[in-house]
């Protein structure tokens, strides 16, 4: 019987079994951010410990950094203190820092892949749950807590239990106007936001095989929202083509050796899975959420379930959620007025996400609705520069989007880009939890970037497929 990629990679990184089922696992790449690392560094200092492998440790300030264009422009002194501490810690311990002062910053889950740091067969840890993103390359990548950040800094290892593996296959092909984000939201809808607890998700099938690396990152990014600690895609020619030539990718003879190792890490054809789920690409439509958990979603054309259709035990809680969201059971999400539109995040803040939007906007004279604030926030400085080079910044600006500097921004509401009061946000981000976008009463509707753009222009949630094909050009072209 063959092995899955998860088993191969996990086993290769096990140092010892400390207690039954508790493994000391080597971490090949440790990524840091300014929110979950400062207490860990403080404890190292108090114990007189050093960072054991600085060369394997990379950090970025992403959660609380300003996207106003001035990275030292902080509204909150706590945010300023976090970013300042990050710079000091990275310097004091001699770690690799994507320094905002040098314009190298961005969301760590965007920066590490684009620099070629993320590679197949690695075990990657970071004090952020969306570390699952890196699984797109065939790595085992997962989020950890602050005390584990300290442990990895000190020992380059942590204590970990072995997960089960569920293969999630998406067969056939996607309809036009359906994106990786929709596939992810559909998987979460079908399997549940807690359905993946205890599992690693292996994504495969014709749809995933045909995905670009950026689409695979969107999918794996949301594995954690399906409850899976990590998600991954087996590495293939798409992976290698993306990696070739990047800053930290191997070169020459080392490249050939690396490709051989990467090929060997793929799940065997006869691998045994703990579970297999097969979904049809043709069944997936653009998805929108209506609640405060990412599995509370419907295809954009469908109605929110009627309360009577739900199990009795769920009715009261669901009614309360709908009340919070200002939505009604049995009614469609389509037509919900929005106040804010957000393009960005580690889920959908890469070049192809903005390209897909620009394709719909370019040359059509479409404008963001007057009552909507629309933010376009590149996932990294490099993404930002690429968008400028392609003229996509101008397309967005002419449509009425604010084209901002790189960071997590309105995904987590830890900088000045926050919702106010009960504002409703059409968002390309990853979590619709209460308070997530910075206002305790703010409302988040998750969707793909193209759906966000359609909502921004229509001023309400709309089916982007019809909206962009039927909306007449309005004069001036970009």
């Amino acid at each position: 019987m063959g092995q899955t990629l998860y088993e191969k990679v996990f086993n290769r990184h096990v140092l010892r079994e400390v207690a039954p089922g508790q493994f000391q696992l080597l971490i090949g790449l440790h990524l840091l951010n300014e929110v979950s690392s400062p207490q860990a560094f403080e404890e190292l200092r108090e114990r007189g410990l050093r960072v054991r492998h600085p060369a394997l440790t990379f950090g970025s300030s992403d959660h609380s950094i300003s996207t106003s264009g001035r990275t030292d422009d902080f509204a909150d002194p706590m945010a300023a203190a976090q970013v300042a501490a990050m710079g000091r810690n990275m310097g004091e311990f001699g770690l690799n820092y994507f320094d905002p002062a040098k314009g190298e910053h961005g969301i760590i889950h965007v920066v590490a892949p684009e620099r070629g740091l993320t590679q197949p067969g690695m075990v990657i840890a970071c004090g952020d749950s969306h570390t699952s993103t890196h699984g797109a390359f065939g790595a085992i990548a997962f989020g950890i807590g602050t005390s584990q950040v300290r442990d990895v800094l000190a020992s380059q290892t942590l204590l970990m239990e072995k997960l089960k593996v569920r293969r999630v296959e998406v067969t056939g092909q996607l309809s036009p106007g359906v994106y990786a984000k929709d596939v992810a939201l559909y998987v979460i809808h079908v399997l549940g936001a807690k359905g993946g607890v205890g599992f690693a998700y292996e994504f495969g099938g014709a749809v995933v095989d045909g995905f670009s690396m950026e689409q695979r990152m969107t999918l794996c990014n949301l594995a954690i929202e399906a409850g899976a600690r990590c998600g991954y895609v087996n590495p293939d020619q798409t992976t290698y083509a993306y990696l070739g030539g990047r800053d930290h990718a191997p070169r020459g003879v080392a490249w050939d050796r690396a490709v051989a190792a990467w090929d060997a890490v793929r799940s065997d054809p006869d691998a045994a899975y703990d579970d297999v789920v097969v979904l049809r690409g043709e069944d997936i439509a653009p998805m929108v959420t209506w609640g405060t958990s990412p599995d509370q979603s419907v295809p954009v054309g469908d109605a929110i379930p009627a309360l009577a259709a739900l199990p009795e035990a769920e009715r009261a809680a669901t009614g309360e959620v709908l009340n919070f969201m200002g939505m009604q059971a049995g009614m469609p999400v389509q037509g919900t007025r929005i106040d804010v539109a957000f393009l960005g995040s580690c889920t959908n803040g890469r070049v192809s996400d903005f390209e897909a939007v620009a394709e719909q906007l370019r040359g059509r004279g479409l404008r963001v609705a007057p009552h909507v604030r629309a933010l376009a926030v590149p996932g990294s400085r490099r993404v930002r520069e690429a968008l400028i080079e392609k003229g996509i910044d101008q397309v967005l600006i002419e449509a009425g989007f604010e084209f901002r500097d790189a960071g997590c921004s309105l995904c987590c509401g830890m900088n000045a880009d926050s919702l106010r009061g009960q504002q409703t946000c059409a968002s390309s981000s990853n979590r619709n939890f209460r308070g997530r976008q910075g206002s305790p009463t703010g409302r988040t509707i998750l969707m793909s970037p193209v759906m966000v753009a359609a909502a921004a222009i229509a001023g309400e949630v709309t089916d982007a497929r019809q909206f962009f094909s039927t909306t007449e050009p309005q004069g001036a072209t970009a």
Binding site: L26, E42, Q156, R257
Partner: protein, 204 residues
């Protein structure tokens, strides 16, 4: 916790006591939420029971943590369901940094008790009668010295001995010094580098 030696074993804790009466004292009371945004646990001791202490002072009856007679106490005597509520690591961090080395009570919030293990501060359970006796001894004569013995699972004050309980796994984590995950991991020593060097992407 500075200057911790390599020996992390915790078998006996001896010191004077501090009594805080009351059931269901949650972690929000132990460490109010507004102190969670700090970038360090250092100084967290100043915020332990911040709101309760301010309120007590305003009423002219200082909180036990502010009472001169309990100053320097290292064993905390509490009642039922102490540390229930949110999972914040800040609550045990604050208590430990305040100088508390062990908490003895009728029962504890489960996550809190687990977080206390990771800072090397055992939470041991005693009967309601034992707690009443310990709190009475402590309040009658605050100079009384107590010894928590994790090998014998007893609390001793003078010639009085009281039984206490602690889950066996946790008890061994303290007595064998394996409560601290960092120390357990570092114990692997140079094997870490040997194994790292064998990884294809490190060896390359």
């Amino acid at each position: 916790m500075s200057g911790r030696a390599n020996d992390t074993r915790i078998v006996r804790v001896t010191g004077r006591g501090i009594t805080i009466h009351g059931d269901d004292i949650d972690t929000d009371q132990i460490l109010p939420a507004r102190y969670l945004k700090a970038i360090t646990f250092r100084g967290m001791e100043a915020h332990v029971f911040a709101d309760a202490r301010t309120a007590a002072k305003a009423q002219g009856q200082p909180h036990p943590l502010d009472q001169q007679r309990f100053s320097g106490g290292e064993l905390l005597f509490v009642n039922r369901n102490f540390g229930c509520g949110s999972s914040r690591e800040h609550a045990p961090q604050g208590l430990r940094r305040f100088g508390i080395k062990a908490v003895i009570g009728e029962s504890f919030g489960e996550i809190f008790a687990g977080n206390c293990v990771a800072v090397g501060m055992p939470c041991v359970v005693a009967s309601a009668e034992t707690m009443a006796a310990l709190q009475r001894l402590n309040e009658t004569d605050p100079q009384t010295r107590f010894t928590l013995d994790l090998a014998a699972l007893t609390m001793t004050a003078g010639d009085q001995v009281f039984p206490v309980t602690l889950a066996e796994g946790r008890r061994r984590q303290f007595t064998e010094g394996s409560w601290d995950p960092t120390s357990v991991l570092l114990a692997a020593g140079p094997a870490i580098e040997e194994k790292l060097a064998a990884l294809p992407y490190i060896a390359r």
